[in-house]
Structure formats: C-alpha cells, structure tokens
Assembly symmetry: C2
Homo-oligomer: 441 residues x 2
C-alpha cells in the first residue's frame, strides 16, 4: 500500500483531496477511514501467543533467549534512578529546561484529577469507597528511533500522582548497551523507579506474568508496534492495560476566518506520525480548503518526513467542505477524533456542541503539538473513534477502588425483610439464610 | 469435573477441607484456584466470531434468524417505559418495597461518585477536562432462571446518575412473549428507557454494531453465559465493556471470636452461585475452622441449591488455618477477592491493611448478601484476582472525559522554544513547524 501511494503521489499533485458534503460522498469517505483500523492478524496473534506462553512457563531463561533472538543482546539491562540521574546530567541545557517545563505543566494539569475516597455514615451503619494507587505499573517504551521522552512524561507523571509504588519502564536492550539518553533523562525528571531492558511481546509477557527476577505489574501502559499491541490485548485481564490504540487522527474545524497556513501546518504535524495517521479538515469555506491544499505543498517540501506526510495525507487525509459549521460539528462528532482543533472565529461557542473527542484545541494559538508536549493535558488519547466511550490517560487510570460496608445489628435488622424478599425471588435461599441465621435463637 | 465431585462428595463428608499454612500447601491451593478461570475456548470463540460478523454484515435479517434459531421466536420484542410501568403495577407489595428501598440506597451511595470537570485558567491560557455521560448504554440481562432484578438496579442506577441518555436492556425474547416481571419492574424503578428482545452473542453484536433498526451502543455491561462473555470480549474496542468477568469468590477473615454459624452461612451464600464459585475461610483459630465445617453441613441440608453448594465448596472452598491475622491478611491480598468479609473482633483495624478486594464487609452484621442487594455499594465487582487493578462498577464507568486547551499568542510564545526543542529531539520537524509557522512573517 505504501509503495502504491508513493508512486501515485507525484510532487505536482495536491496532497489533500477536497470533497463537498452531499450526505453520501462524505460518509463513503468516513467509512473508508475505518479501514485504517488494524484487523487482528492471526499469524501475528499466534506468534505472540507462543511468546507469551513461553515466558509464562519458563520465565527468565525464555526471556534471555528472546532478547538474544530479537535484540541481539546477551543480557537484560536493568537501570535505576542513579543511572537516570547520570543521563540527566549529560542532557543539553535546552532539553533539560524543556523537560522540566513540560513536567511542571503536566503535573499541574493532572493534580486536579486526584480522587478521594468517601463514606456515608449514620449511627448504625457506614459504607464508602477507598481509592488506592496501583502497586506496580509498567510503561512500555519502544526502542530505536520511535523512542520519545514525552511518552515517558505523559505516562509516568499521572502514575506517580496516583501513588503507584513502583513505576518501571520496559524497553528493548540495546546491542551497544547504550539506551536513548533523552528517555533516561525523562525517566529521571518523572521519577521512574527502574528500567528493564526487555521489549517486544516478550517484554509485555515479562511485565504481565513476571519471572523469577522480575515482579509482575498490575497495569501496562505505553505505545508499541503491532507485536506489542497484540501482546497487550492478549494479556488484558491478567493485568490491566491503558487502551487498545489504533492509528491516530486530527480533525480541524475552520471557517472563512481561519488561517490556511496554520491549518496546513497542523494537518501536516499529524500526518508526519505515520502513514496510517489521518488528518481531516472540515470547513465551511471552499476558499480556505483550496488555500490549505496550496500551503500543504509549500510547507511539506522542507520537512524530513515528507514521504510519510504525503502518503498519509493522500490515503487518509481530506478537506471536507461543509454547508455550515453545524454540519462540520456533526461530522466531527461522528468521527470522534483523537485530536480536534477548532480554528473558527469563535471556537468556544462550538466547544459546547462537541460530544466526542480526546483533546480539543481552541483558537489559532493552540496547535496540537502544544498538547503533545507541553500544555499539560495528556497526549495518550482514545484513537480511531473510541473517544465515543474512552477517555484520555489520567490519574484515574492508575488507581483502583475498593468498597466497604459496615452495618451494626440494628441497621441490618431494619432492612432484613427486604433483602430476604429479593434473595428468595431470585432463588437464592442461601443468601436469605445468611441474613436470617443472624436473627434466629 | 462436576460428576466427579458429585460422586466423591457424600453426605457424610465435610464439605470444606481444612489446611494449615506452611508456605507450600496454601500456595498449591491458591494456584489451583486460578484453574477456575476459564481459558478462551477456541471453538466457542470461532462460533461467536461468525455470529458477530453476520450481524455486522446483515443486521436485522441475521438477527431475526438467530432469534428464531436460538430462542425459537419469530420477532424481536421491544418494550418501553409504559410496559415497565405495567409490570411494576403487577408486582407484589413486598417486592415493590424491597426494590424501592434498594434503589434509594444504591442511588445515595453512587451519587457521591459524580465527577465534575475542571479547568486551570490564567490571563493567557486555559485548559481543563470536561466530563460527559455516554450517549447510549446496553445492559445485558440473561434470560430464564438466571434473570435477576438486582442486576438491573446495580447496572442502571450508576448509568442514569452519569447522565447516560439512553439505557437499553438487551435480553433474550421469550417464546410465550412473557418476560420476567421482576426484571421489568426493576427496569421501571431504575428508569431504563427500552428493552430489546435479543440475547446471546447475537444480542451483544446488535448492541455493539447496531442494525437498521437498533442504534449501536457506546458500552455494554452486565453478566452472561460463556457465549455472551466471549462476544463482549471480542467487541471490546468497537464499544467499551464493563469487565472480563470470571467466576466469583468470597474470602472471610476470622479469629477466635468469630461466630462459625455466620461464617458458614456466608461461605454457603457465595458457594450457591455456581459450581465455579470459591469460598475461602482464613482464620487464626483451628477450632473456629472445625466448627464452621460442622455448621456448613447442618445449614446446607435445607437449602434448595444444595448440590451446587456441595460442588463448589469441595472444589474451590477451603478453610486455611493461619499462624496469625497478619498472615491471613497477606493471603487475602494475594487472592484479591471479589468479596472480603472481616469477622474478627476489631474488623476496622484490619481494613487499613487490605490492599486488594472488590468490596469489604466489616463485622458480623454485614454479610455479603447485604451488599448484593441492598446496602448501596455496587455488586458488579472485579473477580478472580483482578481486584489488584480493576474497580467496582460505578458512575465513572458510564462517563467519558474530554480535555481542552486554549492558549493565546503570548502564552504560546512563552513556551514555543521548549516545544520546538522537544519536537526536534524526537525527529518531528513537522511538529516544530506547526509552532514556528505561527511566529514567522
């Protein structure tokens, strides 16, 4: 598919097609979008399942074998906060400042998500809910070029705030023993406890099941390739996972007052992620759509990820010219995008009508990369239309709740007949007995 | 397996084995517990997948065929609040009172879980989080004898409080057209909007994908047999689901002051659910364990679900005599039970040491059936050890969150260098461009 798009997309062609809504064209286009979403690949699934089973059954020895086979290393690197500190000390000052600035804003945004337990208390009974941080969380960080310090911050900061006792990065060991310095520096800034050098499906298995030397985790978060994503899906239930992530997308709503230069830049910044990324403009102005297409060609030529941008825009990008902003909003809610930018004259007016989106960026000085790195809101967001029902990663993602009930004799006596009534209607006389046994003799 | 247990378990035998902790026996026992947890059955999975695909591709016509094939009915029953009202009017007064009493307490407990959005605002930027109820939720209710009004209340009340716009029960149509009156009465009390008569895997498919006449839902909750559970697992991601539920369990912590009659009754009430249910006593007193075994034999003989109780207690029940209450607590946390009763002299002292449990019942007048039906805490709880990382069903289960970010020019200008620095380190010059384009001209 990539090859095809590469050849079909010459430099003369505009990257972004423009379509006008007529009730059919755009729904055809939108259902094509769904095809981006990876179907479960049976071959990969069975390969991953056998890796999971081997780690589960043989632990460290299997892990070492896979580390040798897949990453060409003879050991399992384990780093601690001291190593992170050294990496931080070796970090250029501008990145240090940027990481600390991002840390501060991410922490301040997520602090507001801290949940407290509660209780309802009378003279004769008390009941309530207790909130506890998870004991141990694994953050998966891909190896190689797709290794991002911002991912470390976005995953570790809410976990830390939630009171997670141990935060552990799982990432592939490197042949030369040298891990990405920026990742380690970010781990230092965010207060990660440990890094274990196992990646891929075997890394996920080690996190979920544990081995002789690696304690199992309660939850695995973080991005990864199709093997990692499949492994996460298969261990869901053995531990918790953050989400089933699909390819990501941006939708931009624009009117005749929006600046095509900015629209183009923001569509491009989404498209450069990967060839499956989708960047969609919904605008009430044909002229803005046309100017955006021009700006995209102009801006893209100087960018290093030009080929990816071209491919994703021509495959899954589109400018849809809508009859009204109401129609644009309606379509945006149908798409339920990961990122939504509202670049209209009065963005706040539209916000109230947005029902489904991961993160909404309002006005022309809130481009999506501001959210990716710095504003403080999380960048781990529901993708591929799942914003209809999933939420951004948050402090809540790293806690669990526990209920408690404490009745005294009088309190139970007052309600015992009702309980016995329901229990008997449901055919559970053992349940009824558990109440009545307390009031006989 | 059931047959074997039935024959090996005569009336003379005690139902519950007693073991003493030595570090090995009990961990053997606990790992045997894990075997209850159903492995994915490939035959069922492929059968369910084909049902899902047919409903997805053919909608209503496939749904009607499955309703004919599996439930022997020629139509799809659809009931609304008027029908629920009629059923309520036909309900005996004692059940009306019990349902209303339960409703009131469940509502009062869950009201405390309502979440508000928040925002952080300065002169130059604002960002925050908006909380919205899901649009449409499906509650699966099994047909036939396993049809429980308490399930309707426990699932619908938090959904209603969360602001879900449409709450729809999916349940098998009945040949005679007559649905369980108690279910409909509970639907009336809880304010359910509609009932659609499709059950099994095809019911789950209709809920997840929608058909020509049935709009798709955002989330499916509620219990069901292995076909329903498999279908829910497979549609996870198409919509949200409540949890991957396994067989349920109770753990009771007792000391020498605990009443064996009550312990016995409460172990029995868990065991009567089904043959895979597990009921475990952890006690520091051998004598209490022995008396509990006697009480179980005595109490069980008059109960209607005697055979199920016998089977589950002999397969997955156990009295573990611990060296101390500390050891008992340690084992309870390892099991991470759905229900935990603390029947010791000072139950509140132990509560602080409980890390993993769905619902904790404190003291001798808080038996688990009080929580199943009436106290107000939810009875949809993490099972099979997943209380390590999952939470009880709550209002939070029925909302989604959406972030928003709104910077003005000055605010973005202040942080632009940091953003560009991180973007470039991560190799995304398109991201950097989306910031810098706003400050060049």
């Amino acid at each position: 598919m990539n090859m095809k798009n590469q050849t079909s997309c010459t430099d003369d062609e505009p990257y972004l097609k423009i379509i006008k809504t007529d009730g059919f064209v755009e729904s055809d286009y939108l259902s094509n979008l769904q095809k981006r979403i990876c179907q479960n690949d049976k071959r990969i699934e069975s390969e991953v399942r056998s890796i999971l089973d081997n780690i589960k059954d043989f632990g460290d020895s299997a892990l070492l074998e896979y580390n040798k086979k897949f990453d060409g290393v003879d050991n399992i690197q384990r780093l601690t906060q001291e190593d992170f500190k050294k990496a931080y000390d070796n970090t250029p000052n501008d990145l240090k400042r940027a990481l600390n600035g991002a840390f501060k804003r991410i922490k301040s945004f997520h602090k507001k998500q801290l949940e407290k337990g509660y209780s309802i208390k009378t003279n004769s009974y008390e009941l309530g809910q207790i909130v506890r941080g998870l004991s141990r969380v694994g953050i998966y960080i891909p190896g190689g070029t797709a290794s991002y310090p911002s991912t470390v911050l976005m995953n570790a900061i809410p976990a830390k705030l939630a009171g997670v006792e141990q935060i552990v990065i799982f990432t592939p060991s490197q042949k030369n023993g040298i891990l990405n310095n920026d990742i380690l520096a970010a781990a230092y800034v965010a207060g990660v406890d440990e890094l274990i050098g196992v990646g891929g499906a075997h890394g996920i298995a080690a996190a979920a099941y544990g081995t002789q030397t690696i304690p199992k985790v309660d939850k695995i978060v973080g991005p990864g390739n199709i093997y990692v994503a499949t492994a996460k899906r298969l261990v869901y239930g053995v531990c918790d996972i953050d989400m089933i992530a699909g390819p990501s997308e941006i939708v931009i709503i624009a009117d005749e007052f929006s600046n095509p230069e900015y629209i183009a830049a923001d569509l491009i910044s989404q498209a450069e992620h990967d060839v499956l990324a989708s960047a969609i403009l919904l605008t009430s102005s044909l002229s803005v759509a046309e100017k955006t297409v021009e700006c995209i060609s102009k801006q893209t030529q100087f960018l290093s990820r030009k080929t990816i941008i071209k491919n994703s825009l021509s495959s899954f990008g589109c400018a849809i010219v809508c009859k009204s902003l109401d129609e644009a909003t309606f379509i945006a809610n149908e798409i339920a995008p990961e990122h939504l930018e509202i670049l209209t004259e009065n963005p706040n007016i539209l916000l109230g009508t947005i029902k489904n989106a991961g993160s909404v960026f309002l006005g022309e000085y809130s481009p999506e990369p501001l959210g990716d790195y710095y504003a403080g809101a999380n960048h781990v967001l529901p993708t591929s239309g799942t914003a209809r029902f999933f939420s951004p990663l948050s402090v809540s993602s790293f806690v669990k709740k526990m209920q408690f009930v404490n009745y005294n004799k009088r309190a139970l006596e007052e309600v015992k007949d009702d309980i016995i009534c329901i229990a008997k209607r449901e055919g559970f006389d053992g349940h009824a007995n558990s109440i009545s046994v307390r009031f006989t003799n």
